[in-house]
Symmetry: D2
Subunit: 276 residues, 4 copies
């Protein structure tokens, strides 16, 4: 659904980007919809379709409290799960605290949790050592990116038996009989085992289309061989196109108010650094 | 608690800023703590201390769905109020929709709501016309900025009677006997009728102190006569200093992971445009 | 999963019950698990598997605010839907108010909602007249009992076209092209389109088994040809058997405390009229 | 606000009740409003007014998960606290699990929590031993009944210093300097340090008045020297009288529906054992 723009920035830094590029992945509407709001629903959907697990009372550890992690945690907490967070970034960790989650190292809770969910964008967040210590029937899945977050390769060893119990669901069986339930072989749960609502697709596609139109129509010189964020006004335009489906009614600034705020009545309404 | 940095940017734009300035108001820790997390608590506290209103079942309209509005709405919804939002910015409006709030124009709900709360940073958001249409006992207060959001001046007319019922609480009485309950004469409820937790003061004071130290210690030439955001690493440092009070345990990147992500193990952990 | 015990009481009233009967359906563990907690999850699961609908921002009306309705509403609200309630019972209606839902008549919101869910135990709650007034793409489903809550028969008329779009999902198409999305032909969504967690099955099965054992072992004369609720102590026993799966640690009364409360240290802990 | 009716039942059991009595305390509207819904708000209010504590990120243990405990926990969780429960009753304990709380023995968490709240109706739930093990600045308060839940007497010993820091707030100081913040000397926080909304008073007073009218008007023989629950129809009447203040619109049964359900169109709508 867009993917991480890190390589674009790396190309640009190396001077190897030969055309202007738009980082649509980090537009507000993309971040919040594809990530926060979409994952809030797809974590539940993905887990239910594959395992029929009941969420109420389950202990869950979510690795990473970015937009994806925030969405997963909000949904699971709302349905009665007890959620722990692991984080490397102190700001996100403090947010987790204020949102009512204990911030722990994975080792502190790995023996007691019923579900492990990775949302870090990192690699080897769940290692063989962690997998060895999980309790029987622990469910492990990845909502982050790619298939690197769980060290699945480390599970392909002779002493462990793999049993495919249904599509996208493997039981990995330890010599003592312990089973770990691995979903989608560590690939993205939300893409493998859930669906993406058409509403989210519409937002993402609109953002991408507008970015292309902007790059194509821009007067020469506006964009160089670099990576740009979507102009805020366009981000706001994408949002405004999707408000009618919620029957949402926007308020208009009066001339007097626009002047007071130093804003154009048609936006953009926020400085570039605004976080939403 | 810091205030809007708009005038700093205006001074800078006009070339009248004679020293470098740090916009600490828009650091992450400041925005989230002073605004989102603090207002989530102080809206309840401010309303209770002044009016003893029961939140359950009340209809409330919140004008503005920025950080302050988001905090107020989350708290009121959690305690059983039915919350409507007004917004001028389509992105914030779409967020309100996804968070489960109806986005309306103030006129659509003004006759039915029990509480009106402004959090816009704007002026004359609640006008005399709105006040005339409110129902008896409607509570009106301001969580935004300054004292401009509610047009209180328009209420100082001969046909209306003011009755001070207790400190910070006025009944404004219409000729037909209708009373509107005005809190803090339209000034900031969170500063006038609630308290600021020492934890939040600590975060804000730390941020301000670090900004001053940075400006003082910076090698010549790092900062010009302009407005700067707090360097992300310092923002992260403020957060990390406050984690121990929650007994939160941060995870450290391995060398391999840091290399994979292209990050320094000590941060900063996010690009500047990251929204948290 | 047990079903309504109304007919048992009717048989008993008519003097036609020829053996003692246990109304296990109204034991606490059955009511809360099969109904409140299970439906809180299966409403989301049932809707997702059949329609992939995004919950955020959707307007939903739930008919009936009993245990099933409470579960459905809590889940949908938590995921960002705006939920309206219809009720016939003023106590349940007042609970809905205090939980933050508007209580309306179905006609007041039928034109604007995206989803209609019945949980009443009643019949013809959604009539042809309601169906005629729904907007295009409105989803209609039944979480209550049997298949009587939605008047599906009224939709089997020549002017409407039925289109089966996938298993359990029909589009009913009006002459003007409007489509209503009918799930499971009005039968129970939670049984037709979702799964029941084994944890809930375990609770229900344990309750039923204990009731049979009690009836079989009871000394002659304890039970007559009548309908009985499960003895509270047995209800508590079912609960205590399921606590270890949550690693929950119960506190024991001291002798002194038991005496103070006038309770046996092993329960039962509540009077029969206690509501939980 | 009514108090525990245990002594009424004890009088009745001992044959010493000389008039009929109504247990209004256990009417639905009383239980839910005075206890669940009212405490959901007054726990926040009571803690804020006395201590200005920030709820976000705080670790709290709530002793007892009855109506009062459920209200306290819902509010604190919603505002970002991490809540642990202690319970003696396995049914309430299982409810706590499903609502997303860890059920522990007090000793397991007493060293780490920031706030201890009792809601048990029991005595000596918090003992001197617990108080000795609390961390510095731990807040201790009682939302349950009477002043017996916290063993305050055990704190009146020479080695501990009491410091009254403001009305209803004492610091109890250990020889090593540790301070425990005791609210209202262990009496009811909601009555001592918070207010009761007029709405709740109205419900309670209506219930009490109706009970008296019923006892006075009842034909001879309807009530003997025993304890009765409020007739359900009256409970429903109290609720219906309070719906207009929420602009809630009740649905009426059709004749056909009433017949199908075997109900009178005017109620009562539920069997006596219904739990709401």
């Amino acid at each position: 659904m867009g993917g991480k723009p890190t390589w674009l920035y790396q190309l640009s830094k190396a001077g190897k980007l030969c055309v202007p590029a738009m980082n649509v992945n980090d537009s507000v509407t993309k971040q919040k919809f594809d990530n926060l709001y979409c994952c809030r629903e797809s974590i539940l959907d993905g887990l239910k379709r594959t395992t029929d697990v009941m969420f109420g009372g389950k202990q869950v550890v979510v690795c990473g409290y970015g937009e994806v992690g925030k969405g997963c945690c909000a949904a699971l907490k709302a349905l009665g799960a007890i959620v722990y967070i692991t984080e490397i970034d102190p700001i996100c960790a403090l947010q987790a605290c204020m949102d009512g989650f204990r911030v722990v190292k994975l080792n502190e809770v790995i023996r007691q949790v019923d579900v492990v969910i990775t949302c870090t964008g990192n690699k080897n967040v769940v290692t063989r050592e962690h997998l060895d210590r999980m309790k029987n029937s622990c469910i492990v899945c990845n909502m982050g990116h790619s298939n690197t977050e769980i060290d699945v390769t480390s599970l392909r060893t002779p002493e462990l038996t793999w049993e495919r119990v249904r599509s996208q669901v493997d039981h990995v069986i330890w010599p003592d009989g312990k089973r770990v339930v691995l979903l989608a072989e560590g690939r993205l749960l939300n893409l493998s085992c859930s669906t993406v609502p058409t509403f989210v697709l519409s937002i993402t596609a609109t953002t991408q289309a507008l970015a292309l139109i902007e790059l194509y129509n821009a007067p020469e010189g506006r964009y160089k061989q670099d990576v740009y964020l979507l102009p805020k006004k366009m981000d706001e335009y994408v949002a405004s196109l999707h408000l009618p489906s919620f029957d949402a009614h926007l308020t208009e600034l009066t001339d007097d108010q626009a002047k007071y705020l130093g804003l154009n009545k048609n936006g953009p309404f926020k400085p570039n650094y605004y976080r939403y």
